[in-house]
Every structure is written in structure tokens, then in C-alpha cells.
Symmetry: C2
Subunit: 811 residues, 2 copies
């Protein structure tokens, strides 16, 4: 094979910037307007640079000395000027159209480009009152950027006007759509970076335009920032041809408008003309749909803004190209202390923005610049859409008790646990038709929640076919959001919640791991918000984990993973909750609670198949309220100290342990069994670690201090140990759960592989209760034989033995 390393580089049209080239032509800005906007942008750039470098002497009114410069230079210059450029222009649009707008910054570490304008418009000083609009305040504003105890270099929760941190890349577009749903007056401008654009979640989220109704929803205007480079690499989208780039976005269903260049005056005119056109186009689309009442899928506009990375920084430093190259990504020039040449370059660079034209004697921005920004809550830094709790209306809840099923005796009736929840959600939907949505990856019917379609279909605005009328449940008015992308759904839901609405997301348990990272980041966002006094409470993120590990049947090993709970448990106890209701009525009670809660990530685990029902509604509510309780009817300790505690969490483990208890009762009539069921998993945690945690004395009174506990758990068994290792009786705690043993299995066979089945649990009891050690030997052999017989039946017939499937509580 011939080596090709000597391949010459190819010069392309994108290698040199200059006068703007743009799809939309025009010079809408008057010289005066242009001058003011350019000043606003220069001021924003000045501030961005100041945040990265300075801890003192913010307006360079003294000769620059080492002690004015931060000891550690942190922050990212690369995308800041482009972000500030767009911010400047959005100000004009907001004022021109009296427009409600939310601006989401996609690029990681893009905060300097956003915080500068916030400071100029006065919102920063509003939220950080010590950062006043004067020299001293500017100094503090600079210093606290990316500084311990200060404000982050992403658009963190501390950032006014932000609901999108961008610390983890990939979600700017899905967050934007979530914010736009049911906010017909809002335009969400979102600026994905071209680095972010390489991530999978972002790549598919462009298709969100097929899920927006121009009548009832607002609009999303994506402005792809073709900045050219990531940390050390070119970006893909910046190095494909113009034709490919344009085709790509047309293929995604957008109409792309290009604004490319670096010469400021022409770039201002080009972006202004393009934004005018795009916003007018959005309004035309909305007007057409809203006046006709017919919602079809338009080609929404989007913008490709190609500017040099690090725009306006020195072209070359130390002999290396910086502006327009990846070397401007983070801090374009380090080693400042003691380096006079670098200090000189820095000062020249700072002065190139002409601070004397921007800030008055006291350090306050001149009014002619300030007035580029709008007033009050129209300002991007103080829009209430970015502090959704301000706009949030409580859900109008139906009485969940109406959706329960009668349970006269425990463990006799069977029902699909999630189906009545679907009916309940249907009426939650009916009562809240503009601030509640349901999300799921093409699985709401599979998950038995399809009753919701009676009041609201699946949203669909792409092409319809006649056959869709036969059970397709599709409608452009639908409020059930289904796309086969957990990332997109999670992003939409987060955006929807953070702008003050409510939602419910159901997904297959194993594939919840797909959004491990996203949910973790949302929990982190909520955790920080709890400590920011101006952030109002938002609705919790409610996640139903269903089609669980124990009922994968033919789906096999890939579909068996209950480990999402382990990921959730790592997040701050202030913001995460986990519930495992074992039957219909407890699931309804838990869901009712979760839907009305605030600022949590609630994870509810409940399988969708037929399961035994244990409690009528009153008892279920009591159980859920307590979160953990003794099931008297399943216990034989009659209030005395038991010989063994059978504890369970989760629907299938509960049934198996109940069946074990019956076999044990029959074999050992004197055995005192206490049956404890856990719905609220955090009850197990010490009270010092989680607000739901039981006190040690309460824990001990349930679990005894010295009797064996056989805990049959829905998930990986070590999770229970992790919660309980400090409890008095932990030494006698024996946990069964999924331990990564499976393939194509019947339910019982899978339970047997992982020893959560009735036979294994009964054997565990015999092995651990001292008085059964010898007396139980024969029973144990019988149990083992029976277990083998059950497996053999499954291997022969492909299903479980009827007596196992139809097992009921016999007393």
C-alpha cells in the first residue's frame, strides 16, 4: 500500500475570512445603530477578556502589572466573541419585535460571551449585587469568573437567563425545543457549537422540527456556530463543502441561511438582515398556521454563523496563528506573569476594544451602549422563561384514588400495574392541556400507558397516510412525544420543566442507561439551583422505569440491566428519589406524589406485565406514605420478635418472597416470619445521609438487631448493602437481586438464575434461621427438586409452569 502522508494541504474558500458573505442581503442597520451595536459587542468582548485575565485594574487605568492578572488563567475565549455577537443582535430583535426570547448557549465554556452582555444590560449586577456597575463592581465581576466561590465558565445555574449549562455537550437543541413547546409567544434562539454538533444527541435533535406545532408552540431558531475548531481539532462541519453543509440542513428539514465572514461592519449588517428575515419568516409561518388553524410542518429557518475562532483576538502570538485557529480555544495566551511581551500584547488587545468609548469615568457602561439591550424582563438575562418556577402553574390534579382497583384480599387479583396509571395520566393530561406532556421512545403503548391517547395523541406533523387512522394515534395536536431517541426526549423534557411546566417520561429499564449522563447532569443542575435564592422551584423530572429486567423474556441479556438506580444513587440526596411500588394502587399513589413534587429527579420502577395486587387504595396510600412497612397479613410474627425478616422492594421480588413465605409456613408452621416491603428506597439510608432515611431505632424495630434478613431486591443486590452498611443488623442482611445472569429466559427461570425465586428465598431462610438448619434439610432438598422441575418445564415448553404463573396468596 502506498503511503499518503505527503498529501498536500488544500486551500478552500473557508480558509480566509473577510467581508461578510450571506444568503440574505441587506444593510438594515443605520450608521448610528451599527455604531451602537458594534460598541455593545466591543464592550462584551472587553468584558469577556477581562473575566479570563484580570483580577484588578479592570479598565486598565493603571499600568498593567502582574498582580492585576489572575494567578491561574481559566476560561475559554474561543467561542465567546461569536456568542456575544449573536447576543448583541438578539437585543435588537427583541426590541424591534417586542419579542419574548430565550437564548441558549451550546458551546461548552461559552459563559464569557454571555456574561459580558448580562453585565452590560444590568442583569448580572441585579443577581450579584456586589458586582456593581462601576470600576469596583467590574473588578469583582472579573475576579469571580471561573474562580472558587464564583461563577462558572459554562452557563451554570448561577448564570442569569440560562437554563442550559452546556457543561456536557449535545443538548442545546433538544433543550430549546422543550422550552418552545406550549410557549407560542416565545422564540428560543439556540446556538449549538460545531464541536457539540458532532455528538450523537445533537445530531439527531435537528429532527425536533418534526415535533413542533406552529399554532400552539413557540419557535426555535438554531444558529449553528461554525467556529471551526474544538480543543485541538478542526470540526467536521467546518471542513465539509458548502454544498454538503447546506444539503445536510435541508435534509434535516430546515432552511439554512449562511452568515460568514470576519469584517465587523459587514458582519453586523449581514446578521441583522438575516435575523430580520428569519424572524419574519417565523412570524409568517406562525401567522399562516394560526389564522388557518391548520398545522403543517414548515421548513423553519436556521442560521449558520461562520466566524473565526477567537474572533478579534491577536492573529498571531509567539509565532503561532491564534485567531481563526484552535489555539484561541481556551486562554489564547498564557504565562503572563513576568512576561512583558505577553502583557504588552494583552494590553494592546484589550485596548483594541477602546474601553474609553465604552465605560464612563466611574466604570459604568455608557447609556448609548446600554440602550442596545431591551428593558426589564425582555432582557435575555432576566427573562422569566429562564427561571421557570416564576411561570409555573400547579397541575390541576384529578383524585388519583379514583383510578385504583378494588383489592378485597391481598395477592389474589392480578392486573397490569402500569395500565391504570395510563388512565390516571390521561386525566392529568385532560386537566392540563397546555402545560403537561408525556414522553417516551415509541413505547407508551408497549408500556401500557396508551389510555392517554384518548385525550391526546402522539404528536405527528410529518407525512400522514390513510392507514394511520387505524390505531396510529397520531395528531398534530398530540401532546404525547415519541421519538426513538431517549436523548432527545430527555432533552425536551428538561427544557419543558425548566421553563415551568410538567412532564412524565417512561422508558425501558435497561435503556435508561442511555441517558445516565443527562439525568445526572440535570440532577446536578437542580442541586445547584437549591442554593441559589432567586431560582424558583420547578417541577420534578419524573421517570418511570418499566419493562424491567425480570420480564424481558425473549428480549434477552441486553435488556436486563437495573443499574440506572445505582447511577441515580450517586447524585445528591437533596434531589433524587427512588420508588418501587409493587402494585397498581401504590403506583398511583407514588405517581400522584411525584407529579406534584418540585426540584427532584423521581425514579419510579414498575413493570408493565400482569402482577398480583396487594392493597386497596387506603392501605396503598398508607404504605406509600410510610415508604417502608411491615405487611401484617403476610407476616406470622404476630407482633413478636420474628425468626426471620423477609424484606422486598419491587413487584416481582415481592411476589417471589411471598410465595417463599407460603412454602415456609407450610413446612414450618411455627416459623415467625416478618414481611417488610420497601417502596421508598431511601428509607433504608441512614437519616443523616438522606432526608427520607429511617432513624436507626426505627430501622432496628423493623429489621430487628440480630435476626436474619433475606432481602429480595429488584436491582443489583449490592445496592442494598451500599444503603444499609451502617445499620445495626447489617451483618445478618442477605440480599438477593439481579447479578448479571441471564439470556433468553422465562420469568421464573431468570429469577432462578439470579436466586430471587421463591425456592432460593425459602432455601436462604432455611440456611440462615438457626432452628431450621437441621430441621429444614429435607424441605430444602424438596425445594431444590421443585426448582429443577420448574426449570426443566421452562426449557421444554418455553413458558413457566401454570401453577407458578397462576400462583396466588392462599390465605
Amino acid at each position: 500500500m502506498v503511503a499518503s502522508s505527503e498529501r498536500p494541504t488544500v486551500e478552500t474558500s473557508i480558509s480566509s475570512f473577510g467581508l461578510a458573505r450571506s444568503t440574505v442581503q441587506g444593510t438594515p442597520l443605520s450608521p448610528d445603530e451599527l455604531w451602537k451595536m458594534h460598541a455593545f459587542w466591543r464592550a462584551a468582548n472587553y468584558l469577556a477578556l477581562g473575566m479570563i485575565y484580570l483580577r484588578d485594574n479592570p479598565l486598565l487605568r493603571e499600568p498593567l502589572k502582574d498582580e492585576h492578572i489572575k494567578q491561574r488563567l481559566l476560561g475559554h475565549w474561543g467561542s465567546s466573541p461569536g456568542i456575544a455577537f449573536l447576543y448583541t443582535h438578539l437585543n435588537r430583535i427583541i426590541k424591534k419585535f417586542d419579542q419574548d426570547m430565550l437564548f441558549m448557549v451550546g458551546p461548552g465554556h461559552g459563559a464569557p460571551g454571555f456574561l459580558g452582555p448580562c453585565y452590560l444590560e444590568g442583569t448580572y449586577s441585579h443577581y450579584f449585587s456586589h458586582c456593581t456597575e462601576d470600576v469596583e463592581g467590574m473588578k469583582r465581576f472579573f475576579k469571580q469568573f471561573s474562580f472558587p466561590g464564583g461563577v462558572g465558565s459554562h452557563c451554570t445555574p448561577e448564570t442569569p437567563g440560562s437554563i442550559h449549562e452546556g457543561g456536557e455537550l449535545g443538548y442545546s437543541i433538544s433543550h430549546a425545543f422543550g422550552a418552545a413547546f406550549d410557549n407560542p409567544d416565545l422564540i428560543v434562539v439556540t446556538m449549538p457549537g460545531d464541536g457539540e454538533a458532532e455528538t450523537g444527541p445533537l445530531a439527531t435533535s435537528w429532527h425536533s422540527n418534526k415535533f413542533l406545532n406552529p399554532i400552539r408552540d413557540g419557535a426555535v431558531l438554531p444558529v449553528l456556530h461554525l467556529n471551526g475548531y474544538k480543543i485541538n481539532n478542526p470540526t467536521i462541519l467546518a471542513r465539509i463543502s458548502h454544498e454538503e453543509l447546506e444539503s445536510l440542513f435541508r435534509g434535516y428539514g430546515w432552511t439554512p441561511y449562511f452568515v460568514e465572514g470576519s469584517e465587523p461592519e459587514s458582519m453586523h449588517q449581514a446578521l441583522a438582515a438575516t435575523l430580520d428575515h428569519c424572524v419574519s419568516e417565523i412570524k409568517r409561518i406562525q401567522h399562516e398556521a394560526r389564522s388557518s388553524g391548520v398545522a403543517t410542518r414548515p421548513r423553519w429557518p436556521m442560521i449558520v454563523l461562520r466566524t473565526p475562532k477567537g474572533w478579534t483576538c491577536p492573529g498571531e502570538i509567539d509565532g503561532h496563528k491564534v485567531e481563526g485557529f484552535w489555539r484561541s480555544h481556551q486562554v489564547p495566551m498564557g504565562s503572563m506573569h513576568g512576561n512583558e511581551e505577553h502583557k504588552r500584547i494583552f494590553e494592546e488587545w484589550m485596548r483594541s476594544y477602546k474601553p474609553e468609548e465604552l465605560f464612563d469615568e466611574n466604570g459604568k457602561v455608557f447609556p448609548y451602549i446600554r440602550e442596545v439591550a431591551p428593558e426589564g424582563n425582555k432582557r435575555l438575562g432576566s427573562t422569566p422563561y429562564a427561571n421557570g418556577g416564576l411561570l409555573r402553574r400547579e397541575l390541576n390534579m384529578p383524585d388519583f384514588r379514583q383510578y385504583g382497583i378494588p383489592v378485597d384480599r391481598p395477592g389474589v387479583v392480578e392486573a397490569e400495574n402500569t395500565r391504570p396509571l395510563g388512565v390516571f395520566l390521561r386525566d392529568v393530561m385532560k386537566n392540563n392541556m397546555n402545560n403537561f406532556r408525556i414522553f417516551g421512545p415509541d413505547e407508551n403503548t408497549s408500556n401500557k400507558l396508551n389510555a392517554v391517547y384518548d385525550v391526546s395523541k402522539k404528536f405527528w406533523i410529518a407525512e400522514f397516510l390513510p392507514e394511520d387512522l387505524d390505531g396510529g394515534e397520531l395528531s398534530p395536536d398530540g401532546r404525547v412525544m415519541e421519538i426513538l431517541s431517549e436523548h432527545t426526549l430527555e432533552g425536551w423534557l428538561e427544557g419543558y420543566l425548566l421553563t415551568g411546566r410538567h412532564g412524565f417520561f417512561s422508558t425501558y429499564e435497561s435503556f435508561a442507561h442511555v441517558i445516565d449522563s443527562m439525568v445526572g447532569q440535570h440532577a446536578k443542575w437542580l442541586e445547584i439551583c437549591r442554593h441559589i435564592n432567586w431560582r424558583e422551584e420547578v417541577s420534578s423530572l419524573n421517570l418511570l422505569i418499566t419493562s424491567t429486567v425480570w420480564r424481558q423474556d425473549h428480549n434477552g441479556f441486553t435488556h436486563q440491566d437495573p443499574g440506572f438506580l445505582d447511577v441515580i444513587l450517586n447524585k445528591s440526596p437533596e434531589v433524587v428519589r427512588i420508588y418501587l411500588p409493587p402494585d397498581v394502587n401504590s403506583l398511583l399513589s407514588v405517581a400522584n406524589h411525584c407529579l406534584q413534587s418540585e426540584d427532584y429527579v423521581n425514579v419510579i420502577v414498575s413493570d408493565k406485565q400482569m402482577h398480583l395486587q396487594y392493597h386497596d387504595m387506603d392501605a396503598a396510600v398508607r404504605n406509600c406514605t410510610k415508604g417502608i412497612d411491615i405487611w401484617e397479613w403476610a407476616s406470622t410474627d404476630a407482633g413478636e420478635e420474628p425468626d426471620v425478616v423477609l424484606a422486598t422492594a419491587g413487584d416481582i421480588p415481592t411476589k417471589e418472597s411471598l410465595a417463599a413465605s407460603v412454602m415456609l409456613r407450610e413446612a414450618f408452621p411455627d416459623l415467625k416470619i416478618r414481611f417488610v416491603n420497601v417502596i421508598d428506597l431511601f428509607k433504608l439510608t441512614p437519616a443523616t445521609e438522606h432526608p427520607h432515611g429511617l432513624s436507626d431505632s426505627d430501622f432496628d424495630s423493623l429489621f430487628t438487631t440480630d435476626k436474619p434478613i433475606i432481602f429480595n431486591f429488584h436491582g443489583y443486590p449490592w445496592l442494598i448493602h451500599r444503603l444499609t452498611y451502617r445499620r445495626t443488623n447489617h451483618e445478618n442482611l442477605h440480599v438477593r437481586g439481579y447479578k448479571e445472569k441471564g439470556n433468553i429466559n422465562t420469568p421464573l427461570e431468570l429469577a432462578i438464575c439470579n436466586q430471587i425465586d421463591r425456592f432460593s428465598i425459602a432455601i436462604d431462610v432455611i440456611d440462615r434461621v438457626p432452628k431450621l438448619k437441621n430441621a429444614g434439610a429435607h424441605t430444602k432438598e424438596q425445594l431444590k427438586d421443585e426448582q429443577i422441575a420448574c426449570r426443566n418445564y421452562a426449557f421444554e415448553h418455553g413458558i413457566d409452569r401454570p401453577d407458578i404463573v397462576n400462583w396466588k396468596w392462599p390465605y
Copy 2:
């Protein structure tokens, strides 16, 4: 707002199938060839249907009775005919071009469409010898499909010819590219489904065409299966206009060829003509590049195959449209037992494939059909590319000891731990220039591994600019793969490994969660393979987790998450390994071991910043070999029973605990400290749970049976409890680690927030060693004051106090 629910459905060109429409015209198949191929396809469809429905009477030679039908109908018909259709045609291409080919099935549950052809070509019977090529064998073949103890409905590891299960969707294209890299003679045909195409990972993986070198790599031919529907929903790509669809793929850089229709004869001709054209085009591109030695990015061909969902099944059942609709997704017709009408429909459907023309008296497929498939290892079901261990050559390893750094005294020298690893990897690369690659999301330089660029650049074949020569490190010959998509990288790496090569992936710790699910699925694949005797060992998946939680500094809370380890720990102990080498030499030793290991997921945690160095190479190798050991030089117990055990795992916790031990020594000269360092995390697990686990007696001899243990851990602290809760001295084990407390922090300040810092550890010791409880009160106050002073310094200066940063082991 006006309701729009009355919107009429729109008929489009795609609603009615019929004669083929295709980009490439032609009728390359002779009538004889057409007849045979059609028979092969019919046979494959017959078998697919049989697998889903039948447990007996496979050739319907008896009247169909209930007992012939499986008691539980499992499996997915919907995409099977399309998959089998493509398989049939790939056979022809393989034979025509004597082509090495690997076929990856994207759609979940697509196995029936793949297993049928495997049975016809004889590979299925080769691997499952009881499923002979006769009536009895066919019966077993049918029965064991999606049956306990049998073969899954995805293309699981048991599936001959598969390296891609498809149980979790989104990876068919990235897996295909991984397989094609460095296999110049191979064409990987991959068939993403249109459901899968909605996932983020798949949406970005189309850009993989910018990472393929036509000279040294093979080709990937994606065949998007526009099947129209997911479980209950239309797919997005099937409901956008032809123009949008074509633009999308052109935008992604492909040349799309369409084959659309349902009428078999014309569809056979159309697909044959299209495949002929695409394969010729691939060969033309390869020839041009290989003969000129110049690798540029071509527009590779891809195919859009639009066929009706459930193709060839009944058009209508029970009054509902089935073929060409989502109702054919899984089992198109249930409730067979006792339903004579359904049995009649089924029998008619089965007989529509004319089994009497397909299988001889004994049930063996007629030779004229068998000969459609190629012979031997050219068969898709027995290609060695799908059993990569067969092709795998061991790495030619340089001596890792050469890359170490001299360490005369422990804890004095500082070095960036990952930088020498980069030099080592450089030479691994140099020695293995066609079967080793390095993967990372734009972070290899950030992670200090950039020495590798000395021998191999980052692969780049999109546009080049002159400035790229200044440190861009880009080359179309590069073997370092960088794209800002962890999903794509992981997919490429998995495909590369499973076809018998070697690789190394480094990523930021927090964002390893992005691929939680993928890595978990890969571990599951490896776990199943261990129990399949014909699956040869492949290289381990080596993942370096760096830029760790403790050194996020300005990156903030989003970048602090060491929980990937918790996810890994849930996987089978047979296939996962976790290492936390604390310094350069131990990292080299661990990496050397991991690179040569087989069938594991190896996770190595090592930060990239400057860290103290503890051991020379000999000692490091000893430590790594043992995996856990007492550091004598840091201990003061002199072989006696200590007062306290200071245990650590991870670079930064180790330094902090060492610093704590020094403060303790100074304050309490008589205190007997034992210092234990853990590199191999699974040493802590009981020997019964993990092959690396220490015996209880070994554990006790290290950790004592009753002395306090202060364990300073890199990750979430409960992870250590989860591993050790059965150990004798667990009650006295006190673990510190990251507990989700952070924001913008200096390293020490973050440590203090989470109590892993030197002061907290020293205080922990004072609190837990009985003889210090009173004696230590004053010291404890001093430590607290010092801790506060350090925090205040950080808040004031934005960096840690120099004495903290420059701390060295003083003895």
C-alpha cells in the same frame, strides 16, 4: 388558538408499494438466477416465520395443530424479510466479486432474517450440530429460536457471522466502520433500521465516512432499511420527502441510491443492479486511491432500501392492515391456539413461500437454492471477520519498563502521570501500525498522550488548511481517531476489537457516563462469548478515564462524576477489571497488562496533571502484580499490629492520605500507621465473587480484624462498602470519597468539600483511634484551623497555597 385535529391525512407517493423504483436501472439477473435467488429468499422467509411460530411440523407435512405452535409466540417478523432480501443479494455479490464481506444487522430483533439464510447456507448447522439439515433439525432450529436455552431474537453472540447484536440500537454504522478500519479487502455491509436511525449515536455516525482511508481501510456500505415503522409509530425518515431524505445523505457526504418497492421480481433486479453499481463504485474509489497513493475523501455510495414492513405477510388480518404497517412489527398475528381462522391464515401464509419447491423430502434445502450462497468462509455466517479472535495477531509490545521514570525516593519527584504513557503508546503504535489504534474525543493532547502523534497523527481526510501544519497533527494516514462523539469512538473501537484488532480509548471521567450503556452492552457481549466454545478470544476494551473529578478546577460540577466505576462494577466479574495506578510507573505496568489481556473491559483511572511519584519500576510492577499492598515506607507499624490503617485508591486520595500521615506522625510519634494502597479494585471483593478477590485471611492480614481503617477513595465512597461489606473488619471501615459536593474549586478546596483532604483524613484518624480521642483534641483543632486557612487562601487567590501544591514526602 384554533384546533387542528381535523387535519386531513395526506396521501403520498410512499403509501402504495408496487414495482421497484430505483436510482440505478438495469436487469442484471438472468431468469435462472432470479428464480434461484427468489427461491433463496422465499426459503429464508419461510424459515423466519417458522422460527416465530412453530415448535413442530416444520414443513407442514401434517395438518397444522395447536401443539405444533409455540405456546408463547416471540420474535419479530417486521424487518426480517428485508434483512433476508439483502442477505440473499449479498451472497451473489460475494460470489461475483469473490468478496470478503461482513453483514451487520441494525434493526433490533432482526435475527430471524439473518438466521434463516445461515441455516440455508449450512453455517447454522455447523455451529448448532443438533440442528441438522433435515426435518428433525429444522424442527429444533425453529424451536430453539427465542426460546429458553436457545438463540436470541437479536443477532446475539450465538449468531454465526455476527459481531453486532442490535439489542440496543444506534451502533450499526460505528461498529461497521470499526470493522472496516485496516481491513482493506473487506466490505462491511451494514443495515441500520429507520427506527435505529432516530437515535443520536446513529445520527452522528453517518459522519464516519470522514474517518475512512480508501487506501488502507476497507469500505462500509450502509443500506438504510426504510421499513416505515417502529413498534407503534411511523419512523421519521420514512415520512419526510424524497428530496429531504436525499439531501440528508448527501449532506452527510454519501451518494444515496434508492431501491423502493414491493414487487419481488423488479425488486430483485433493482437491488442487484444497485449493489453491482455500488460495489463497482467502491472498487473504483479504492483502485484510484490505491494506485495513486493519494487518499482523499470520496463520496461513498449508500443505499436506501424502502420495502413494506413485514413484507410478504398477509395484507390484512382481522380487519387490520398488517403488511406495510406497524402491526407487522413483532408477531403479526397472535392467539393461534384454538383459533382455526388464524391457523388457516398462517398455513396459507407459510405455503405461499411454496416449501415443496424449497426443501427436499428429508427437509434439506434443494442444491439449486443452497448454491446461491458462497462456500466456506466466504459465507456470511462463517466469515472469520465475525470471529475476530481467529484473525487476531498479538501486539508486538515494546518493553514498558523503558518508559518509566526514575524514582529514588518515594513522594518527592512530580510528573504528569499520563505523559509517559503517551510515549509508551507511541511505540506500541509504531510496532503495530496496522492493527492498533487510539481513540479519544478531541482530548488526547489535553490528556497528555500527544507523544503518539510522533508516529501517527490524528486521522483527517476532510478539508485541510495551511495552518493545520502548525501543530494540527492531522493526516489521512493517522491512526489516532478523534471525533467529539464518545458514542462513535466507542462503536468504532468495539468493531475494531471484535474483528481481531487492538485499541486504547481515553476520555474525560465525567463523560464516560455518556457511554455507560454501550460499554455495559459490550461487557454483556463478552460475557456471553465466554460461554460459546467457537468464539475465540478478542482483545480487551481498554478505557483510560482521565481528567478526573479531583482536578476539574474551573470546569465545575458538571465535570465531577466518578460514577462510571459503579456502572462497570455491575457487570459480570468475569469480564470487568478496574485499576487505579497512583503514579507513572504503575500506570505503565497496568497499561502494559491491559493491552495484552483478552475478553475484558479494563478501566484505568489516572489523572493527567502533575502528581507525586512513589515507586521505581520494579516496585511499581510488584505493586501492580499484587494489586494491593502495604507501602512499608509510608507505614510506621514496623510489621506489628497497627493502630490505624490508612488505605487509598487513586492518585489524589493517595497524596492526601500520605500528607495526613505525616501530620499524624509529627503530632503522635508513637502512632502505628499502616499504609495500604489499592491498584486493582477487585482485590477488595471476596474471592468468591471475583477472580481477583483476596481471600478473607489475606484481607484480614492487610486490614486487621479490629483496627480503624480510613479508606481514601477516588470515587463515590459507598462503592468501597459495596465491595467489602462481607469482610471481617468492615465495621471499622470508614471511607472518604467524592460525595457530590463541588463547583468551581481548587484541588484542595474540592478535596476539603468532600473530606478527602489531608486535614479531614487526619481528623478521621484522631476520631477513630481510641488512644487519640482525648490526646488528639488539640491537634484536631489545629488541623481544622489550618483547613480553614487553606480554604480562605483558595478563595482569595484562586489557587492553592504553595506549601500544599508543593508538598512532598519528607522522610
